[in-house]
Symmetry: D2
Subunit: 333 residues, 4 copies
């Protein structure tokens, strides 16, 4: 309450809480009275009190998420992506091209990354592009190519879904649905993707707080789908030497308050090939359950995001380094 709040104003807050089925505990202090409110199961927002006279500020001491919280589910969740377990002792490596460009390109890259130790194949069939004039992906044709690459290599496939209208078809072909950073708060998409029961790789939005990130995952879990893999891919800051700022502190932060696994995408997070290796090492050292990296057989000719793609040989070097770091933190690859 404001320093100048009257006792009538304090009582009005107490009455408002009680009308909403909550309990109010006034705490008179030297300078002001605070009122603790308990019994809120998440349905009552701060708006119910902020507008009352004499109220200075409303501070939340509980968080609005529940199913994603370690408080409610203390054990780590392990998500199976076509048999590959994410969230256990093994550090999982997801690799592949940014965009599926052709059968030949995708098969070549899938074989190259499989040979060097990748666990899951990634590749975009539907591409979210900032400009309407940029390559928008091959669509269902791309999904078929990914399925063929899985057939040929045994690698399970993760690919992005952009729109509720494509959820069914993507779920038909893919082992795991990726929800991209730009769609992290596309709530209809979260609900519909959640309903498929397929595992969801949920990328953090470029300006998402941790609470917003976890609440987006909560949308999926609320559809009775426990299979969410969180993915840090860089946040937007003033910094200009990388495309985004990879916020690795989110890895221990998630581990502390949620039971969901978290992987890191250092390719989009940095936007620069030469930073992908050191930031992959750093991600695993910070405790990430996996990484997702872009690999292209001919980066200079890639139809999207060439500057951040690794060649197969660079990817091989990355695998060696990641293996060494994983061992140093007591994990395998």
């Amino acid at each position: 309450m404001d320093r100048s709040a009257t006792s009538a104003e304090v009582e009005r807050v107490v009455a408002a809480a009680e009308r909403l089925g909550l309990k109010a505990h006034p705490i008179p202090g030297a300078q002001r009275t605070a009122v603790g409110i308990t019994g809120n199961k998440g349905a009552v927002g701060p708006g119910a009190f902020e507008a009352l006279p004499g109220v200075l500020e409303v501070l939340s001491v509980s968080h609005p998420y529940k199913l994603v919280s370690r408080e409610f589910h203390p054990e780590d969740t392990i998500v199976s992506v076509g048999g590959v377990l994410v969230g256990g002792t093994r550090v999982v490596v997801i690799a592949g091209p940014c965009a599926v460009e052709s059968l030949e390109q995708t098969l070549t890259i899938a074989r190259e990354v499989k040979a060097r130790g990748a666990d899951v194949l990634r590749g975009g069939a539907y591409k979210p592009r900032t400009s309407p004039y940029a390559f928008q992906g091959l669509g269902e044709e791309g999904l078929k190519i990914l399925a063929a690459a899985r057939e040929a290599t045994g690698l399970p496939v993760v690919t992005e879904v952009l729109d509720t209208a494509h959820v069914e078809i993507v779920a038909h072909y893919a082992d795991c649905l990726q929800i991209g950073a730009r769609n992290m708060q596309n709530f209809e998409l979260l609900k519909k993707a959640g309903k498929t029961g397929k595992p969801i790789l949920l990328k953090r939005g470029m300006s998402a707080t941790l609470e917003e990130f976890l609440l987006a995952a909560e949308y999926v879990l609320a559809e009775n789908n426990p299979g969410v893999i969180l993915c840090e891919r860089g946040i937007r800051t003033f910094t200009d030497f990388t495309r985004n700022t990879l916020d690795l502190s989110v890895v221990p932060a998630v581990e502390r308050i949620s039971h969901l696994p978290i992987v890191v995408d250092p390719s989009h997070g940095t936007g620069r090939r030469e930073k992908v290796l050191p930031m992959s090492r750093a991600s695993v050292a910070a405790g990430a359950d996996g990484i997702s990296v872009e690999v292209h057989n001919r980066p200079a000719e890639a139809l999207s995001d060439g500057p951040q793609a690794l060649t197969p040989d660079m990817f091989g070097e990355l695998m060696d380094q990641v293996r060494a770091i994983a061992a140093a933190v007591g994990r395998t690859t």
Copy 2:
């Protein structure tokens, strides 16, 4: 090019440009050689060059947008929302509740804002909510209520569309479709909303650069729909005394490089009622073509965003102040 780039590396860049149908102009300097590339119509990204040996940095001197640009369309675009012209000399005021809660609530508020000079009614039927446990809107029922309020007051209606699956039904009832900040880069939604031919109120994403904002509008214009109204609603920064940071400098910036009208939403931009009045004045003084504000007859009981809603009387005061500022900058309300 890098200072240590060889002439063979420079030649390879020139050759790469020519293979792509572009023209390259090497500029030898005291410390390094720069290579100017011309003839790019937007299809070739920086990736085509960044991966080549000896290349230090690729800088864009042209922008990838076209239809939204004042260079290509020098005259101001004026968008008609059910007969109300946005982008002309008149400063347009859009007002109404955050969420449509009931027929009675919506009719009451619509009449109150109409009586005080509002031009357009706003109100959410489909609500994007950070938490899956918060009120998600009345859906089609809410659209019917908005149509009834238009019938009763003559105010055209703007309301948000969240998903491609709802575009048709929202376009059936509303005079203008709002695309929210969280969906600014939901490209499928932009395309489908653009195809309806209805005017689009496009809110800037919380971490969108000006180029990304204009490219989102370009998606709509590329569907042969020229009716985009841009809307600044606050960006995400470290600042914590407002919910978002209203970036009013975007108003003169848009005016300089685009022909599209721009309005400001100081309710979401600040998240605090007591800042809505001063920031509404500031928006109009900066040159905005209109403002969009939340008004609720009983803010303390609003189902969403109560703390930022004005009472009808505060809205009346806002109209008086906005009128005075509009006159001072040579505009009407």
Copy 3:
């Protein structure tokens, strides 16, 4: 407290508070127990509790500033800069070159801005420059030129002080000492400048929260110097079309919680001449007590920050526009 905190852990928090002379109020809730702490006069930080077992989070409900707060000093403070009152009904205009370059340049500009209605002359003698190779200012020579310009025009002078070693000499010549954004948390400088008794124009740091900004002012007031003028000059965000993001919402925010006057610097805030006029209008409309703008007789030849300086004629146009807005909000110029 954590959901799983034991009652022994709660008691340990209570005991810790009491040892520190504070009072603790446990509030048992459905999910967790919260403990309200009262009686803290600012000396005890959150660290005293955060490290205790069972403690989940420590939230402050009181702020650590006092002298700058409107709660402790309800009336507006009016600061006199050489007889010009800042913080009253008059909107004060501070104008002049970024850097003092020569007597002739400074006199010319001082006369031009005086003729068009400026109240205070600004100009840098000691210049903080990002690069060691950029022009660093004329030093004491520049101070003498400013004093001569005051002599010639009657305009009081505000100029920046960069280092504790220069405080005395700057205070000898200037009517008001400016502390720049880069020095907002140079606490030794704040203390020493405060001790001079001269008014201080304190610019907000590029990444300063409102609390940090007010605490920097508190350092000056704690030296028994009540004469602080706050100055918003743009914060650092991801936005790239202006040099900084002018955060005008800070104007009503300061007005609400502090009695100190606040002015806006739209030249540094935007870094672009064409945005200075609209953002000056917006600043005054938002309730600012004044503006500070850069004017140069030959902007293309200015030794620093040319792109943001206005010509004298543009400044004349700005004065006309600012006068109209000031009148619209019931103030004079």
Copy 4:
């Protein structure tokens, strides 16, 4: 140039460049003419051209720093701090209390960290505090305590200098002068500290770009002092689960463009004890030349920053983990 720029305007830009002793290279393109400018040694800023008619934008292709750049000095710089080499194959660990509180506290902690493998002792005698009412440090008394701890343990000492007036005395006692984040652009302090010839641990400002960070180091090198150790300690972003966002990508970015060593401070960078271990591992994995961590024998009673300090036992665990990661990247501790 603008699309509509006339050839007279292009010529005027060429003439302006030549007047400044530079060379201009017009490059006519399909949509606009670009003008490449060469021969600039850093003295001419963009302002010389941005104000000319027809100029749309001025883009820098060279950077204003020189001495810090790897282009000018390809070999890694190794800085000796009292005999401990920073920037070689060894990962250096700097540890100690946030603030020097007493001889006994400092000796205890120095011995504890020495016993577990620390290389350098840290501790603040002059403390920059956001609030004027917080503990401001012991001053010279604190410097003497640090010297005594060095005597007792053999650990070289790094401590912060806040003001030009204290440079001499701090340089008298310390092996390395720390310039804090808030003073990164206190240019007078950088110059004076540089002149002492002592190594400088330069912390990145909370909103400093990489270019600003390197230019701050350039101020020191321009005083003929090559001994700068850069230090990442977190940047200010919207993220709220850590006090600052540790920007580890800066480590490979610095390594690529500068020859200076870089260390990471994960204590201030995260502000939370439980994140210090994982982020220390991540820092070393990313390629950092060292880390700086806060250790306190009784964190709950620390006079400043208790929540981020490790106990000696936690520090021992950190050393074990850092050793394992250092070995995995081919370095020693």
